[in-house]
């Protein structure tokens, strides 16, 4: 009986987790189109990034504040430095994403920017010394990603 309840609970967690992940994908995907709309009709990528991050920070603060004080109190100087670098990298990403949306259709920019897992692998390999295991899956995935970008580049010319 206990086992059955546990299985039902695990299945429910799995289903909810998949739904939540799908909603996240829908959020990112729809947000891209709205970002392009703002750039085309209202303001520049720079201003969109600045206001987007400011408003986004307010939204995230609602969820983060209850625990943030304790976390921040125990943050070391090294972690602060890394947080600054992470923040600047995020700015770099969002800014170039919006610059790209200013110049190309969302249906091209969104998939091309989705190649970032490939860069995570490369950067991990170069800087973290966490040698990624080279498997057939990794090689096939990388080839598909590179081939996909090439196909989109060809498609964008037509």
């Amino acid at each position: 009986m206990k086992l059955r309840i546990s299985t039902i609970h695990n299945n429910r967690t799995l289903v909810v987790g998949y739904i939540v992940s799908l909603l996240s994908a829908a959020g990112y995907g729809t947000g891209t189109v709205i970002g392009k709309f703002i750039i085309e009709n209202h303001t520049s990528p720079l201003i969109t990034t600045a206001y987007g991050l400011l408003i986004g920070t307010m939204f995230v603060a609602i969820a983060a504040v209850p625990h943030a004080r304790r976390d921040i109190a125990t943050t070391t100087r090294r972690e602060w430095l890394i947080a600054i670098l992470a923040g600047l990298s995020g700015v770099w990403g969002i800014l170039f994403y919006l610059f790209a949306l200013d110049l190309a259709p969302a249906v091209i920019v969104s998939p091309v920017a989705s190649i970032f897992p490939l860069f995570v692998i490369v950067l991990s390999y170069l800087f973290l010394k966490h040698l990624e295991r080279i498997t057939w899956q990794l090689i096939a995935g990388a080839l598909l990603v590179v081939g996909g970008v090439a196909a989109i580049a060809i498609g964008s010319l037509g």
């Binding site: 799995l14 909810v16 998949y18 939540v20 992940s21 996240s24 994908a25 959020g27 990112y28 729809t30 947000g31 891209t32 189109v33 209202h42 720079l46 990034t49 206001y51 400011l54 408003i55 986004g56 603060a61 943030a68 090294r78 972690e79 890394i82 947080a83 992470a86 923040g87 990298s89 995020g90 700015v91 770099w92 990403g93 969002i94 800014l95 994403y97 790209a100 110049l103 190309a104 249906v107 920019v109 969104s110 998939p111 091309v112 920017a113 989705s114 897992p117 490939l118 860069f119 800087f127 973290l128 990624e132 899956q137 995935g141 990388a142 598909l144 996909g148 196909a151 989109i152 964008s156």
Partner: protein, 140 residues
């Protein structure tokens, strides 16, 4: 082609952020590390925007603010926080594979509500990136 190069540069920024978070912010909750990096990002961008485009920054209209709220809401609480929730509930491999489908949503919304069109190479390329990205994250 410049748009594609900028999208690749964006991907490098997102990847660097993921590496930095993995490198040093593992002790923080996901919401705290997101908030910290976003406060830093917002402060830097507002400063840069105030220096380069002071008039544009202050001349933002009410209509634009409403769209910016929608943009920020979809990207941060919906996109990013649900991303972390999904990872916590089903694990990074499964969640990342599902989240990798976001270009498909972009394609559906862009075709349905804007004048964007796709051709066969773009559809094939999008599917290849989604499947390839899914294979990369699921093997880690």
């Amino acid at each position: 082609m410049t748009g594609i190069i900028f999208a690749v540069l964006a991907a490098m920024g997102f990847a660097s952020q993921a590496i930095f978070v993995r490198l040093g912010l593992q002790q923080m909750r996901a919401t705290t590390s997101t908030l910290t990096t976003m406060i830093i990002g917002a402060a830097v961008m507002l400063l840069v925007a105030a220096i380069i485009h002071p008039n544009e920054l202050s001349a933002i209209t009410g209509g634009a603010i409403l769209w910016l709220i929608a943009f920020a809401f979809l990207n941060f609480p919906v996109g990013r926080l649900l991303n972390y929730t999904g990872v916590r509930m089903v694990g990074p491999s499964r969640a990342s594979t599902v989240i990798a489908t976001s270009p498909l949503f972009t394609m559906i919304v862009a075709i349905a509500f804007t004048n964007e069109t796709v051709n066969t190479p773009i559809v094939i390329g999008t599917i290849a990136i989604m499947v390839g990205g899914g294979m990369i994250v699921s093997q880690r």
